[in-house]
Symmetry: C4
Subunit: 209 residues, 4 copies
């Protein structure tokens, strides 16, 4: 209980938390490209061999694209949620750090799915990791709404806002399950899911931050 | 149509978008050096062998230099365009994210051209990627000018400003085409193209931001 | 002595030091994931082989988790200490740079322990590096308290605050020693130690920065 | 001449230039650790083999340490020089970009010297790259002093300030030359040189920025 009490202390400015988070987001999306390794050719000058090797990289390009879009979606929603908070306490800092930890983990399942696109375990791990990331983000959002919300934002909130958010991790888990039946179905679900959350929920009667 | 309407919402401060973008730009230019791998020598103490190995790295140094300069040019123009906007909406954020996605892709064609400089496909992919990046930047610029421009900048604008910008991607594509005839011609075009856009267009009668 | 005098000069704004430090922290935690390499499979489609390979990565996942949490703890406490300072002098900048140097070193012992979890030397180096990092942080903290503290924070300070901090490096060294008897004991100590310092010490009668 | 005139245009805020530069500095120093690869052991549990392998990494540790300290020195002096400027023009942005390009190059000569410490060419390239970086920094400094200096800093300046700076690149080149006679002499010079420039020059009668 004393440990819990310590987390509710602290009154940190949001600027350094934003700077640290933006750094992690920016590095994660940029590191994704490191998995796109230059293919090894026998004949360096062969156009046909290079074209063939690049086509074989297609699953890696698709994984990269998916992860980039989803991390940007997280970044935008993170921006929105921090805009709702009046300051941060230590509990928020640690929730945010654990959220960022799993954001920084994303290059691993991305590379795994890109490498073993025909392996249902690799494809379903991708969905499971994004489901976990979304759950952590919902926890962050809920923490801000319950404890740190700006006073002028507290009134007009949709009470089901947090609850609605659970559709997203459920959808990623559906994709993860679908991977065992059809890789294509899993990819389709992974592509469609972020589109529904591509902008933060509308604020009612408030100028968003 | 409802999806489109959501993009015109949002009124985000530009500071975090700048921070995220600057992070991506900074990481992209710095990651480029990772492709300059230390050569493997048989005789560790041999000056002649090391000198020979470094000379063989020349195409990688040239690719690195080209990409560094062009990304800095994008950064400077990005800075200029964000200085024209009064705020950002979700449409801008997503256009910017897609632009940054292809900026973060740049280490791949840079490494590809550095590795297979004698392969016309590798050299022309480099030009094609920069043409795509320039087109995305033009879209970003046009979006700001049409929807988000600061009121005191709206008046004195050159109506052909956006149109003139298309010369740049056309020039990169010309270089990509030239690669099939002469690698040297392609490199020359890749070098000259950014020089014409090395500073943002002059503002008429306004102190630039 | 003249060299020493130069260090007490300078009156730098803290914002760029924060930006540089936050950049290093953010990159360190995100680079940690690069050690989690995609395993090489003989049969790309084999679920059993992939599951087995991922289980074998467990020590790397644990090392990654530990280092991530500890670096975040450093970040939070660094944030706290910079909040106490009214400005920075060159001595602070250099102490901070040396602290960041060993923060940026963390991916190496993390990878070493992840790779050779059964090697007591690898496991004890991990603890020794974190002990060194904590000592450097204590030096940074002491420097701020003695030379740069904000006037309204100077009064109510716990005179044993710095001294208490030495428990933490001692505990990491205990873990490093325990590694020679039992790897599990070392891991347990490495996990428990940061939990006691997971929030900065309470300020007495001051709104923390 | 028209190209030159364009460079003197522009009146950019320094904040984004600082953010981009700080990003590059932070990434460069942190990437340096990636060259410290975990050694490959035959017997994973052998303490003696691991100890031996780590001792063999000593030249890489020394190279890493040297580069980290020197890049931090550049960061601190860069901070100082930007504090003298009232704003930036396009010429400054491009000089800064070229300076950052060679800062981002530093991991390559660092890795080269770490790998081939017994090769005089590898050791002298290290010194040559730092000489080049210092010359670019002097150019940046001179540009600010001649064109962009804050009005209240312009008066009390030491007219030989820029000239004195040339001792530093000369010293790195001396180290590069010494590498052909004795590796130890070169290392000694590389270590001593940055110590003389470890703090920016004293401002006369001005509160430094």
């Amino acid at each position: 209980m004393r440990l819990f009490a310590r987390f509710t202390q602290g009154e940190l400015r949001l600027t350094r938390i934003e700077a640290f988070s933006d750094g992690v987001f920016a590095i994660v999306v940029t590191l994704l490209v490191l998995e796109l390794r230059v293919p090894v050719l026998k004949d360096h000058a062969s156009v046909a061999e290079l074209a063939h090797a690049l086509i074989e990289l297609a699953p890696k390009f698709v994984s990269w694209l998916l992860s980039f879009i989803i991390v940007c979606k997280f970044w935008l929603n993170h921006h929105h949620v921090l805009g709702l908070a009046r300051h941060a306490d230590y509990g928020f800092v640690w929730l945010n750090s654990i959220f960022l930890m799993f954001q920084s983990f994303i290059p691993f399942p991305t590379a795994l799915m890109g490498e073993y696109v025909g392996n249902p375990l690799a494809v379903s791990i991708f969905g499971a990791v994004f489901a976990l990331n979304t759950l952590l983000f919902i926890a962050l959002h809920a923490y801000v709404v319950r404890r740190l919300i700006k006073h002028d934002h507290a009134a007009g909130r949709d009470p089901h806002e947090i609850l609605k958010g659970f559709i997203e991790p459920a959808s990623y888990l559906l994709g993860a399950a679908a991977a065992w039946l059809s890789i294509y179905a899993a990819f389709a679900i992974y592509f469609i899911t972020p589109l529904f959350y591509i902008t933060p929920p509308r604020e009612r009667g408030h100028a968003p931050a």
